[in-house]
């Protein structure tokens, strides 16, 4: 029965080790992410955060105090993230929580935030449930909602003659939500469309050859793609080899983001209409300033959408604390109401109705230039026009 002794000893050891004092006067933000599990997405995000932190602190910090992020790795597990969130808030003295890419981890922290009254700014999770079906007053989200991005693609799709659509999306919550949103918006604009096949490969386990054959067999006019990462690479390669994309319109959610387009290099698909981030092509204004600052800070690297989200996360938090005038939870909560933030994408607002920011999306067409996949003929779209109506959102959000 030495087990309990070990528990106590371990706990005691932890107390001494982790109790180390941090700079006493800084304002601490608890940042939880999957730095190891999803290193490809989390690293650019962290770099964006650090760049913005340097800028904020060089300009004197917030409320005259330096802003500090405590970065913690949850290994992609919601249970671990909840534990770490508790530690950040109750032991490390964080004033609020932020971070996460995976939707499930975001939802777990959001649920904790609602229960324990911690403020949580979900930076990157894609699930709209965070602000709608499972929303709560303490959870806010920065990243453009999936619904809005799908609606932007549906609007473009409705302009063509295509009637028969195929969809392919990873078989998890984000994928299903994206397909649903695309269908809903497209049917509204063009009732005669029909969806001839829906493919649901398991996330990061796509059997690309089989998927391409199944889609080809359904003879669609156009394809809506939600796969990303390695699934996208395999899908594009098999699809190109087998001629799936010849003569068909393809709409790709997130496909234009550098995270996904860059690894494809000269094999990037051409002529797809996508949402993404054409940093290489922004000419002036704050968007260009961000790109220049990023490249100057990290020579040899280029910004990803994650970098931009990380940067905007810090800007949002700095603006929030300045507006609140204190780091008190109630003051922060009140300050989040219609909070306006100047960002590389222009001014964004945290909407009072659903705590979602009005970060928009770049849409455009893919092409290959100098052996690299890029977006051309792109434009930045404000999301407000694409959001569901206020009544719809109220119906979705749980009563407060």
């Amino acid at each position: 029965m030495k087990q309990i002794k070990t528990v106590v000893a371990a706990a005691a050891a932890l107390l001494t080790v982790t109790g180390a004092a941090l700079a006493a006067d800084s304002i601490k933000i608890g940042e939880i992410n999957h730095y190891k599990r999803l290193a490809a997405f989390a690293e650019p995000y962290k770099k964006g955060v650090e760049l913005a932190l340097d800028e904020v602190n060089e300009a004197g910090g917030v409320l005259g105090r330096p802003l500090e992020f405590i970065f913690r790795d949850d290994n992609g597990k919601p249970g671990d993230a909840v534990k770490i969130a508790e530690e950040l808030m109750t032991r490390d003295g964080a004033v609020m929580l932020t971070g996460t890419i995976l939707s499930n981890v975001g939802l777990a922290i959001s649920s904790l935030a609602g229960e324990k009254k911690y403020i949580y700014l979900a930076a990157e999770p894609l699930a709209d449930a965070l602000v709608w079906e499972s929303g709560n007053p303490y959870t806010f989200r920065l990243r453009t909602s999936t619904f809005v991005q799908a609606a932007m693609l549906a609007e473009e799709a409705a302009k063509t003659d295509a009637v028969r659509y195929a969809t392919i999306a990873p078989n998890y919550a984000y994928g299903t939500a994206a397909v649903e949103a695309f269908k809903e918006n497209l049917k509204k604009l063009k009732p005669e469309v029909e969806f001839v096949t829906e493919q649901w490969p398991a996330l990061f386990k796509i059997d690309a050859g089989a998927e391409v054959q199944a889609i080809e067999a359904a003879k669609p006019d156009a394809i809506f793609n939600v796969t990303f990462g390695t699934d996208l690479q395999k899908f594009v390669r098999e699809g190109t080899t087998r001629g799936l994309f010849d003569g068909r319109n393809v709409y790709g959610l997130l496909t234009g983001e550098p995270e996904y387009l860059e690894p494809l290099a000269d094999e990037a698909p051409e002529g797809w209409f996508v949402t993404g981030y054409p940093w290489y092509d922004v000419k002036d204004g704050p968007a260009k300033d961000f790109v220049d600052a990023y490249i100057a800070a990290y020579p040899g690297e280029t910004p990803k959408i994650g970098s931009l989200v990380g940067y905007m996360t810090v800007e949002s938090i700095a603006a929030l604390i300045e507006k609140a005038g204190s780091t008190d939870t109630d003051a922060l909560l009140a300050a989040f109401k219609d909070l306006k933030v100047e960002t590389p994408m222009g001014e964004i607002v945290y909407r009072d109705i659903d705590n979602q920011s009005t970060m928009g999306a770049y849409v455009g067409t893919t092409a290959v230039k100098d052996g690299k996949g890029v977006m051309v003929d792109w434009e930045y779209k404000n999301p407000v026009a694409y959001m569901p109506s206020d009544d719809d959102i109220k119906a979705k959000r749980p009563a407060e």
């Binding site: 029965m1 030495k2 087990q3 309990i4 070990t6 528990v7 106590v8 371990a10 706990a11 050891a13 932890l14 107390l15 080790v17 982790t18 190891k36 290193a39 490809a40 989390a42 290994n75 919601p78 249970g79 534990k83 508790e86 530690e87 109750t90 032991r91 499930n104 777990a108 649920s111 904790l112 229960e115 699930a127 499972s134 078989n171 998890y172 919550a173 299903t176 096949t197 829906e198 493919q199 649901w200 490969p201 398991a202 996330l203 990061f204 059997d207 690309a208 050859g209 089989a210 054959q213 199944a214 990462g229 390695t230 395999k234 390669r237 080899t241 087998r242 001629g243 690894p263 290099a265």
Partner: protein, 620 residues
């Protein structure tokens, strides 16, 4: 017709990489009896080396040379793993080595990230094989045809090696009876090393060969490993032709699954696995295990005794100390200890069936997550009060264990383990893909405890009482007549049967009991976290429990609890560091090598040696 043929060809092409990795794993298992969790990592390394080499060596010649070289390099890495990590622990209890291979996974993950960076690599296309061939009007990539041609060739080469050479004779002999081979003067170490080289090289080759159809990324190690297990089990552990047939079967089924039931592709594989195991318990081409091959290697299990007065006082003092924590410790200490106690209970429940019952389960997470989901579903859909939903967790998990146990106890040894794995993966894939009910990957959220338990301290005491109570109950059971009977079935099923014990019934009850207690831990878990997601049902969760039981000491009573406390604490501390997986992996490997009897077992041995503990009577 054209489409059908084309789909068949796609399936055959997909089978290539799967077959290579699976045959390697099967070969290693057959000879060394090591279930190499790290085989997926070797596959990943093969892909990364392949990408790097292909970018250096140009042309057709460079491409194929790169593939061969990747296989060789990974084979050499396999030798390094075998010599440095596994050789010191061959004499440890059966299956102990899998803890070491788990450490290897962590180390390789971080080293790969350090060397190649985080970005996904797209595999280069095969020079000269970039386009398609029209077969019955359907486009079939040339590289697919190349893969289809290569696979039988490798199968043939392996067959020739195993059936026609002296090395093959030794390998086959060792697969059947490795002690006899040793007795006949064959150097087992070199045989093991050689087999590890071959198995690893095959995995590396698989990783490099699939490059033109995919690429190299940091998730591919864990992504392939469950499919590889399925293939090896369906084909029969240790059988190369079995691995071939099973990988073709799984790949082809998957291709048709994509066309006809696109939303349930994950479930399909595990259904096939469970069905095959139920009809042919040893896989399609596997041989029945010989009695005595499993369970007892090395020193026999010691008789167990209830703790003495000193021990009891000690435990009472510790529980009292834990009860006092909220008075002195801060809020987070309670959160952390809550987590640790829950994991300890989960590990203790596995230890009960694994150590006391000799039933090695690879799928214990099904009952932990099953219990948690049962409670969460009740709260979500029926607005059940927390107290009632909580009670339902162990009941539901126990019921699930009763159902799965009925099938599983008909098998034994590693096939029992594999069937438990199949069932747990089945539960996982159902929860993951039955989006409308379980919320799929988005899980079930807002499952918080009742008002009177909602404070951190209140829940801390609740967990302490239920968790420690559960652990003590399991310990009491081991000392009860039921525990004695269970140990009798473990040590000699035939002898137990002869004395009138209903072996299967006893094992079945133990299975259900362990499941129910895991469900209890799951219930505690879901209300402490407020949410539940499919990852609590994953293969990884089962392995976590398995690893801490071995790490703590499989031949002790308290090993699981100590191992769990050690692991949770180590993880909590290490994840603050940049390369925590590397450090944790090295730590695990270190513990495995220094303490082959597990932490508790080795402490006990040391205690006996320096005279702190009495040597038990039978050893004198």
């Amino acid at each position: 017709m054209g489409l059908f043929v084309a789909q068949l060809l796609t399936g055959l092409a997909n089978a290539a990489a799967l077959f290579l990795v699976a045959s390697g794993l099967s070969l290693i298992f057959g000879v060394t009896r090591i279930v190499n969790f790290a085989h997926g990592s070797l596959y990943m390394l093969g892909a990364y080396f392949g990408v790097t080499l292909m970018n250096t060596l140009p042309g057709v010649f460079g491409f194929w040379t790169s593939i061969l070289l990747s296989g060789l390099i990974v084979g050499v890495i396999g030798i390094a793993i075998e010599v440095c990590v596994l050789r010191p622990v061959y004499r440890a209890p059966e299956l102990f080595q899998l803890v070491a291979t788990f450490g290897v996974i962590l180390v390789i993950q971080d080293l790969t990230l350090m060397v190649w960076g985080a970005e996904d690599r797209l595999g280069p296309r095969a020079p000269g094989l970039k386009s398609v061939v029209r077969i019955l009007g359907e486009p079939v990539p040339q590289y697919d045809l190349a893969l289809i041609a290569i696979t039988p060739f490798i199968l043939l080469a392996l067959w020739w090696l195993i059936a026609r050479t002296r090395v093959g004779v030794l390998v086959r002999a060792a697969t059947q009876d490795r002690e006899m081979v040793g007795a006949l003067g064959v150097n087992q170490s070199w045989l093991f090393t050689g087999v590890f080289f071959l198995g690893s090289a095959l995995a590396g080759l698989g990783g490099a060969l699939q490059l033109p159809k995919g690429g190299a990324d940091l998730l591919m190690d864990l992504n392939i490993i469950s499919a590889v297990f399925v293939v090896v089990v369906i084909g029969g552990m240790g059988s190369i032709p079995g691995a071939f047939v099973a990988s073709v079967l799984i790949s082809v089924l998957n291709v048709f699954g994509v066309s006809y039931i696109p939303q349930s592709t994950l479930v399909l594989m595990y259904v096939v696995m469970a069905v095959v195991l139920l009809i042919r318990p040893y896989g399609l081409f596997g041989r029945e295990e010989k009695a005595g091959e499993h369970g007892q290697v090395g020193e026999p299990d010691r008789p167990i005794r209830p703790a003495g007065t000193k021990g009891r006082l000690f435990v009472a003092a510790l529980i009292a100390a834990l009860a006092l924590v909220p008075l002195v410790g801060e809020n987070f200490t309670q959160v952390l200890i809550t987590d640790i106690v829950i994991f300890c209970l989960f590990a203790a429940s596995l230890q009960f069936m694994l150590s006391t019952g000799g039933l090695v389960s690879f799928g214990h997470a099904a009952y932990f997550g099953g219990g948690a989901y049962a409670a969460a579903l009740l709260v979500t859909y029926a607005d059940t009060p927390m107290e009632l939903a909580f009670l339902f967790a162990p009941l539901a998990a126990g019921l699930l264990a009763l159902i799965f146990g009925w099938f599983c106890i008909r098998l034994s040894g590693v096939y029992f383990a594999m069937l438990t794995l199949a069932f747990s993966q089945l539960v996982w894939s159902l929860v993951f893909q039955w989006y409308d009910v379980t919320g799929g990957d988005d899980g079930l959220v807002n499952i918080w405890p009742a008002e009177w338990l909602s404070g951190t301290t209140a829940y801390y005491y609740f967990t302490l009482i239920v968790g420690v109570g559960g652990i003590i109950l399991l310990r009491q059971l081991a000392h009860a007549p039921f525990g004695y009977t269970l140990r009798a079935t473990r040590d000699s099923a035939r002898q137990a049967e002869a004395t009138g014990i209903n072996v299967k019934l006893v094992q079945w009850s133990a299975f259900a009991m362990a499941g129910a207690m895991a469900g209890l831990a799951g219930g505690l878990f879901v209300f402490s976290k407020g949410s539940i997601f499919p990852n609590e049902l994953e293969i990884g969760k089962s392995f976590d429990a398995l690893i801490v039981v071995f790490l703590g000491g499989v031949k002790t009573l308290s090993g699981g609890v100590v191992g769990a406390a050690f692991m949770e604490s180590a993880k909590d501390w290490l994840t603050r560091l940049e390369y925590w997986r590397l450090i944790l992996g090295l730590l695990i490997i270190g513990v495995v090598i220094i303490a082959p009897d597990g932490i508790v077992g080795t402490l006990r041995r040391v205690g006996e040696r320096i005279g702190l503990l009495r040597t038990q009577e039978f050893m004198r």
